[in-house]
C-alpha cells in the first residue's frame, strides 16, 4: 500500500515538474525538482484531490522545502486518519 501511495504521489509530482518519475528520489525537495511557489501549492492541491484528503495548513512554512517522502508520509497519515475516523470507504 505504501509503495502504491508513494508511486501515486511521485506521479503527481512528476506531472507537475514535467520530469521522468524515475528521477524523483524520496529525499528530493519540491524545489530540487524545480517546483516552487505556486506550483508547489498546485502539487498539494492535486494530491488532496487525488486522495480526497485535506492537508493541514503549514503555517509559516513553504511547501517548496518539503521532500517527496514527507509528502508521501503526510498522505499516508491523512489516509490513516480517515480510516480511523470511519470515513475510509468513501
Amino acid at each position: 500500500m505504501n509503495d502504491t501511495t508513494q508511486q501515486q504521489v511521485f506521479d503527481i509530482i512528476a506531472k507537475q515538474a514535467k520530469i521522468d518519475v524515475s528521477t524523483i528520489k524520496p529525499e528530493s525537495t519540491l524545489k530540487d525538482l524545480g517546483i516552487e511557489s505556486l506550483e508547489a501549492i498546485e502539487v498539494i492541491f492535486d494530491i488532496e484531490e487525488h486522495f480526497n484528503i485535506n492537508f493541514p495548513d503549514q503555517q509559516g512554512a513553504n511547501f517548496d522545502s518539503d521532500t517527496a517522502q514527507s509528502l508521501v508520509d503526510a498522505v499516508q497519515k491523512a489516509l490513516d486518519d480517515k480510516v480511523a475516523a470511519g470515513e475510509g470507504s468513501d
Partner: protein, 410 residues
C-alpha cells in the same frame, strides 16, 4: 517635467469605512492607539471555512442610514463603502459641486481588486446551488468594476475623467497616483480617488484558503511567527486638489501628494521582487524631489506573509541605503487587515495622520524578531516623532508596485 511639477497636488478631504467603523478619524485613532480591527469571522458559512478571523466592517454599518433608498438597490457592498467614504471626504473638503461647473474639472478614479464580489457570489449561488432560473436584474450594474467610480460621479455630478483601476492589492495606490497625474497634467483640478473592497464571500474565502496564505489567528507583519495575511474590507476615498485651487478657496490642506512611483517586477505572478519594489520607492522619492534622508516614515505593504515581509525589508534597504536604519517602518495591516484594492487608501489615512499628528502608528502583534526583517518596525506601540515626509507602499500579486510620497501641507 518642470512645468508639470509646477502643478502641485494636495489632499483636502479624506473619508473611510473600515473595520474600525465609519470615519477616517475613527480609523486613524484606532491605528495610532494600536487597536486591532481583526475579529472572529462573521459569515453565515463560517463553520465550513478553515479561516477563522477577518477584519470586517462592523455589522453596525447600515448603508440605508446614509444612502437614499432609490440608489441603494443599485449598489454592491463595494459601492456602499465607496459612496459613504466619498461623502465624508467631500464634506470635509468643503467643496460644493452644486454649480455644475466645478464638476466638469473633477475626475473620479477608484481602485478595486475584484469589484462586486458580493453580488457575483450571491447570484452564482442562486444559479448553481439554488437552481434558480433568474438572477437579479441589477446584477450587472452592481458588480461591474467601475460601479463605485460611476456612483460617486452620479451622486455629485462629477463629469471629468472617471474610471476604475484594478491592480489587485495595489489598486488604491494606482488609482490615487492616476488621479494625481490627472491634476498635474491639467486634465482636472480636483479628483475624488481611493479604493474600495468587499470580498469576504464564501467563494473568495475558499479561494484564498486554497492558496494557503491566510493567517489562522492574527496578522503579524515582520514577526518571526507570522503566519500570513488576514483579509479585510472597507474603503478610503480622498479629495485631491490642485494646490492653487485649494489655496484660493482657503481650504484646509491635509497633506501634499508630492510624488509617486510605479513599477512591475516582471518576474513571478506571486513571488515579490525586492528590485521592483525598491525601484518604485526610488522613483517616488525622485518624483517628489525628496532624498532618502528626507523620509521619516514608510507605511509598509507588510502583509504578514513569509515572502512579502522579508522581501520588502530588502527592498527598503536597497532604496534607502544607510538611512534605512533611521526610518520608522510600520505595517498597519496588522490592525486593519488586508483590504486588497482598498488597502493603500486605508493606509493613506494612517500616513496623513502620522504627518499631521507627528505620531507613527505601530506594527501590532510583532513579538518575535526575525533576522530577515531587521528594520525599526515600531512594534506594538505608536511613537511620537516628527514626520516630515513619508512613503506608502503597495505591492500586488502580479508583481505590480505603486508607491506614494507624501509631505506636510505646504
Amino acid at each position: 517635467m518642470s512645468n508639470v511639477s509646477m502643478r502641485r497636488v494636495v489632499i483636502t478631504g479624506m473619508g473611510a469605512i473600515s473595520p474600525f467603523g465609519a470615519g477616517a478619524e475613527t480609523l486613524w485613532q484606532g491605528l495610532r492607539e494600536g487597536h486591532s480591527g481583526i475579529r472572529p469571522l462573521r459569515h453565515p458559512d463560517a463553520g465550513r471555512l478553515k479561516v477563522k478571523v477577518a477584519a470586517q466592517v462592523p455589522a453596525s454599518f447600515d448603508p440605508a442610514a446614509h444612502i437614499d433608498e432609490r440608489t441603494l438597490p443599485l449598489l454592491d457592498r463595494t459601492s456602499e463603502f465607496a459612496l459613504h467614504a466619498a461623502r465624508e471626504a467631500i464634506s470635509q473638503s468643503g467643496l460644493d459641486f452644486g454649480d455644475g461647473v466645478l464638476g466638469l474639472r473633477t475626475a473620479v478614479i477608484v481602485g478595486t481588486g475584484v469589484g462586486g464580489e458580493t453580488t457575483q457570489d450571491e447570484q452564482s449561488k442562486r444559479l448553481y446551488a439554488d437552481n434558480a432560473t433568474r438572477v437579479h436584474p441589477l446584477s450587472i450594474v452592481r458588480l461591474m468594476t467601475n460601479a463605485s467610480a460611476s456612483q460617486i460621479s452620479i451622486a455629485y455630478g462629477l463629469r471629468g475623467p472617471t474610471f476604475a483601476v484594478a491592480s489587485a492589492c495595489a489598486s488604491a495606490n494606482h488609482a490615487i497616483i492616476q488621479a494625481g497625474q490627472m491634476i498635474r497634467y491639467g486634465l482636472a483640478d480636483i479628483a475624488i480617488a481611493g479604493g474600495t473592497e468587499a470580498c469576504i464571500t464564501y467563494g473568495a474565502m475558499r479561494a484564498w484558503e486554497a492558496m494557503r496564505v491566510l493567517a489562522d489567528e492574527t496578522c503579524r507583519p515582520f514577526s518571526a511567527n507570522r503566519r500570513g495575511l488576514v483579509l479585510g474590507e472597507g474603503a478610503g476615498i480622498f479629495v485631491l486638489e490642485l494646490l492653487e485651487h485649494a489655496q484660493a478657496r482657503g481650504a484646509t490642506i491635509l497633506a501634499e501628494l508630492a510624488g509617486s512611483g510605479m513599477t512591475a517586477d516582471a518576474t513571478d505572478i506571486v513571488s515579490p521582487s525586492a528590485d521592483g519594489a525598491a525601484a518604485a520607492m526610488r522613483q517616488a522619492m525622485v518624483d517628489a524631489g525628496l532624498t532618502p534622508e528626507d523620509i521619516d516614515y514608510v507605511n509598509a505593504h507588510g502583509t504578514g506573509t513569509l515572502a512579502n515581509d522579508s522581501t520588502e525589508t530588502r527592498a527598503i534597504r536597497l532604496a534607502f541605503g544607510a538611512h534605512a536604519d533611521r526610518l520608522a517602518v510600520s505595517s498597519t495591516k496588522s490592525m486593519h487587515g488586508h483590504a486588497l484594492g482598498a488597502s493603500g487608501a486605508l493606509e493613506l489615512v494612517a500616513v496623513i495622520g502620522a504627518l499631521r499628528d507627528s505620531v507613527v502608528p505601530p506594527t501590532a502583534n510583532l513579538d518575535q524578531p526575525d533576522p530577515a526583517c531587521d528594520l525599526d518596525y515600531v512594534p506594538n506601540v505608536g511613537r511620537e516623532m516628527p514626520v516630515r515626509a513619508a512613503l506608502s507602499n503597495s505591492f500586488a500579486f502580479g508583481g505590480l508596485n505603486a508607491v506614494l510620497a507624501l509631505k506636510h501641507a505646504p
